[in-house]
Amino acid sequence: MHDYLWLLPLFPLLGSVACGVLHFVALRTGTANPGTSGPARLAGLVGSGAVGAAFVVSIVAFFQLTGIVHALESSAWRWIDAGTLAFDVAMVVDRLSSVMILVVTGVSFLIHVYSLGYMKGDPGFAKFFAFLNLFVFAMLMLVLSSSLLGLFVGWEGVGLCSYLLIGFWYQKGWPAEAGQKAFVMNRIGDACFLVGSFLLVRLFGSLDLSTICGRAVEVNGGHSAELAIAALLLFGGACGKSAQFPLFTWLPDAMAGPTPVSALIHAATMVTAGVYLLARLNPVYAVSPDVLVIVGGVGALTALIGASTAVQQNDIKKVLAYSTVSQLGYMFLGLASGAWAAAIFHLTTHAFFKGLLFLGAGSVIHGMHDEQDMRRMGGLRRHMPKTGITFVAGAAALSGLPLLSGFFSKDEILYRSFAHGGQSFVYFALWSAGIAAAAMTAFYTWRMVALTFGGEERFDPHHVHPHESPATMTGPLLILAVLATFGGILGLPAVLHVPHLLERWMEPVTAASAAFLAQSAGHETGAHGAAEVAIEWALLGLGAGIALVFAHRGFRAYRRGPAPDEALREKRPALASFLAGAWHVDAAYYEKIVQPVKLFAFFVATLVDQVVIDGAVNGAAALARIAGGKGRRLVDGSVKSYALWMGTGAALLALVWIWS
């Protein structure tokens, strides 16, 4: 038993409570800006410290795993007792979650530090750290939980924090709306998740992850349909959390939150929870090939939508948001190809470079006094050199320029999906979509770089004085830039004849499903024939070429400002708005779902409830009153009519009784 693992979520939880208390203390101090008061500043340190402590614990756990032990487990907490079965939750660190906790706590720590600078002076400074710590707590619960139900605690918890942090600047109104949208769309996924979990309970009688993974291959025979439905439903949950089509529209809106939040939650960690879920349950998916095709299709489609939309965005954070959507699509494509480690690899590198990009963008926004529109930027390389350099490093990684982290992780995914085409022809289509998305990725990334840092200043220098950010902000940028640049060594391609570190590391987790996949594919794992080597080399070259060509085109076209966009808008207005509007998915939701639902609710509340159901109730009462009035009218005061009634009554009574 390794009960110290409980410390991992506990540190941030306590940190969160402490920060929350400090927030209210800060409010009580009566200073004009509670964010600058002593308690608030203390909260910043406490929050960062708590996450730092968790990072240290993660490292300890990680190194414990380097030995022969494949998993560390804490003692269990009996949570829900459903009578016939009980749900226990323990903290487990295995090879997969160890990667995740390192990424989570590490990136979180950096972003906490970054936030110390970024959020300085915000009235809700302490609250911000409380929420961030709460998020880290939830994320760690998600990653570490031994049970799907415990995972769901974290799953919902991160959703909550996302909601709270997106709406952090609630006074403005629309961030709150965006938060609500995020929560609700996540909830749609969560509902699928819940039903999926019920199916798993029915199949396995437990929600213990090791049980499920261990027995998934066994149940393939009898229950594969049910298991497939469960897998599909859980993927639905992942779609919500990881912003996959059709539930991706909340993520761009989530950019309403403070930028560190976007970096941490909406790029590096939370949105990858879906990827983690599928990777965690890899045996379940391995035995459901049809579901994998759907996963891949959704991933590829999302990658396309995200990348193509990012091309036409002007808000720097929106570009990054759609880019995230698109990159998450890659990860799912990887998962769908059975490349669990590759997906996690891309998850990790993405955490680095996208975190970096967001933080860089945050630095830009900070320096530009909350300006986010790239059309009013340009030439910032002169004003913010550190930010600029790190940003370019991140952009290079994202666009998959050779030898940077993104290059290796993305190309591995593309290669594996191409290779998977041997089993299912669909994967060729998925692969080509991936290639197209890669091209667009390179294009929009460098468009963004060009618009932001390249060219001339397009803002009014009399009003805006861009400045470089403080060290608390640039420090994390530098660290992340290093990671984004050299992160690729975790998973160098097999053709280089160097070990794929991550894949090796994760082998105990993926072995069963890999074996199953290989068995169904009909060849041994890991065998690299000459043809494969050739194809892999070819694909590497293709990836590098595309990245370079489109990065160049993107940068060159926009070096002098956003004119090409206007040209496109004039020439092909429909296409431009189609791209800018993310294929009109969100608008369609609003028109076809949100509005009708609201209308329906109104209809239910007024017509059905008030008129029909309550109308029946009140109608009965009204009827009674009307009948009472009629009955009263019988009593007209005249003895004669009373007597008539009596006579009639007597006569009828006699008639009825005699003739019956």
Partner: protein, 514 residues
């Protein structure tokens, strides 16, 4: 010496004493009421502590002769003053006992006139509700059941909002209509069984009773719960009731309906309940969705919370009539959860109503800035209500849906949409009340919650978190009771299965013979 008689009758005694307290000294009246309810809460906790969760049958039974019903055509039936607590009662009694002192405290804020009367009714109400949960004699139960209508009638009618008269009369008549139909069934049942003793009636298994008896009981409870489409009284009653009335109504009174469904529906007539369970599951699931849509369209915050009750109680009904252990446990737990979360919501709505004299969502906005403590508690309550894991609501909902899934995947899926819709309307309301810019100047001047207000909510939040993290601490007390109930259900199912098989086996033989 059983705790139950003092527990049940102490509030009534307190009410009588209260009548003789000087009319002018409101503080003394409040203090007295608070003291009485606190003592009762203490007794409730005491009961909790001495209660043995491993025993399925009622504990702490008091049994005394009351009167003899000279039942026509048969031997006389002895009606007894019999109280007892099993696991199910215990949870409800605990909820009632804990909630009442807080309700008294909350009434300080909005009951400024005719305070004494109000407190008297509050105490009478407590006796009525505890009696309902503890009565082990059918006639006694019915007594308490109907008596508990009267105090709320006065509470809404005297201290309610502008449309209070309509609301209170509607509430009274609607629920009474159900109760009276139940009366017919009660009479019939007692005559058929020859006893009013609830355990004896339960032991009789109810299999031979005609379905209409079950349905008549169920109708009364369904109206009380309320199950869609018998819910329209609820929104009006809640909207017009004073805060404390709403809290009692949502927190405890509605539980009388679900409690009744469980005790006098499922436990007493397991066979009929199995037959009709699909209908109730459907009604429960539809209630979830319907209530959610209703809530979505409300502009009155209190009405929204009231409609959300419809949705939440739909979960309870869905879970209970799944007739699985998980469903039953979830249903029972959700009864407590709903009492806590919705009670809290009503308290919170009441608090801003006291400040702003409006409940219209439009009239608020941006309160998080002026009332951060309120915002914190409100958000926490909403999250509990939405069913966030780690808080109480999730455990109940999960168990319910898990339980109902094995009984009916279809209705479970319909019910699951409630998880989404619940988030939609509650967060929408939260956003419109707490967030956004402050549009109305009045909202800038609203004072944040005071110590009394925070203090009275804290115990509830304690339970919100406690149940969310360690639900077994509460459900464990009901373990044996619920397992025994499940056994009864399985017995009936088993017997049916046996007879079905016997018929199936007999059929081919008959065909061969032909």
């Amino acid at each position: 010496m059983s705790l139950l008689t003092p527990l049940t009758l102490l509030p009534l005694l307190g009410a009588v004493v209260l009548l003789f307290l000087p009319a002018a000294n409101v503080a003394a009246q409040r203090l007295w009421t608070l003291a009485v309810t606190t003592v009762v809460a203490g007794l409730g906790v005491g009961l909790w502590l001495v209660f043995d969760g491993g025993i399925a049958t009622a504990q702490q039974v008091v049994d005394a002769p009351w009167f003899t019903l000279p039942y026509p055509g048969g031997e006389a039936v002895a009606v007894r003053y019999k109280l007892g607590a099993d696991g199910l009662s215990l949870l409800m009694v605990g909820l009632t006992a804990i909630l009442m002192p807080l309700v008294v405290l909350s009434s300080y804020g909005h009951i400024k006139e005719r305070t004494k009367e109000f407190l008297v009714w509050l105490l009478v109400m407590e006796t009525g509700m505890l009696g309902v949960f503890l009565a082990l004699d059918l006639v006694l139960f019915y007594f308490f059941w109907e008596v508990s209508l009267v105090p709320l009638y006065f509470m809404v009618g005297i201290w309610g909002g502008t449309n209070r008269l309509y609301a209170t009369v509607k509430f009274f008549l609607y629920t009474l209509a159900g109760s009276l139909v139940m009366l017919v069934a009660v009479i019939a049942l007692i005559a058929r069984a020859g006893t009013t003793d609830v355990p004896a009636l339960v032991a009789a298994h109810g299999a031979s009773e005609p379905a209409w008896i079950f349905l008549a009981f169920a109708l009364a409870f369904a109206i009380k719960v309320p199950v869609v489409p018998f819910h329209t009284w609820l929104a009006d009653a809640h909207t017009e009731a004073p805060t404390s009335g709403s809290v009692i109504l949502a927190g405890i009174l509605l539980k009388m309906g679900t409690y009744g469904l469980l005790r006098f529906g499922i436990q007493m007539f397991p066979a009929t309940a199995i037959d009709w369970a699909p209908l109730f599951m459907a009604l429960g699931a539809l209630g979830i969705v319907y209530g959610a849509f209703l809530s979505m369209a409300q502009n009155d915050l209190k009405r929204l919370v009231a409609c959300s009750s419809v949705s939440h109680l739909g979960f309870v009904v869905l879970g209970m009539f799944a007739l699985t252990q998980a469903g039953l446990r979830g249903g029972v737990l959700q009864m407590v959860n709903h009492g806590l979360s919705t009670g809290l919501l009503f308290l919170l709505v009441g608090m801003i109503y006291e400040r702003r004299h409006s409940r219209m969502i439009d009239h608020f906005g941006g309160l998080a800035a002026t009332m951060p403590i309120f915002a914190f508690f409100f958000t926490l309550t909403v999250l509990s209500s939405v069913g966030l894991p780690g808080l109480n609501g999730f455990v109940g909902e999960y168990l319910i849906l898990l339980g109902s899934f094995s009984a009916s995947p279809l209705w479970t899926c319909v019910g699951v949409t409630g998880v989404v819709l619940g988030a939609v309307y509650l967060l929408m309301a939260t956003r419109r009340v707490l967030y956004g810019p402050i549009i109305h100047e009045e909202n800038r001047r609203m004072a944040d919650l005071g110590a009394r207000e925070v203090g009275l909510m804290l115990p509830l939040f304690l339970f919100v978190v406690w149940i969310g993290v360690q639900p077994d601490a509460f459900l464990g007390k009901a373990d044996a009771t619920l397992e025994a109930l499940q056994e009864r259900i399985e017995d009936v199912r088993g017997a049916r299965e046996t007879s079905r098989r016997a018929i199936e086996e007999a059929l081919p033989a008959a065909e061969v013979a032909r």
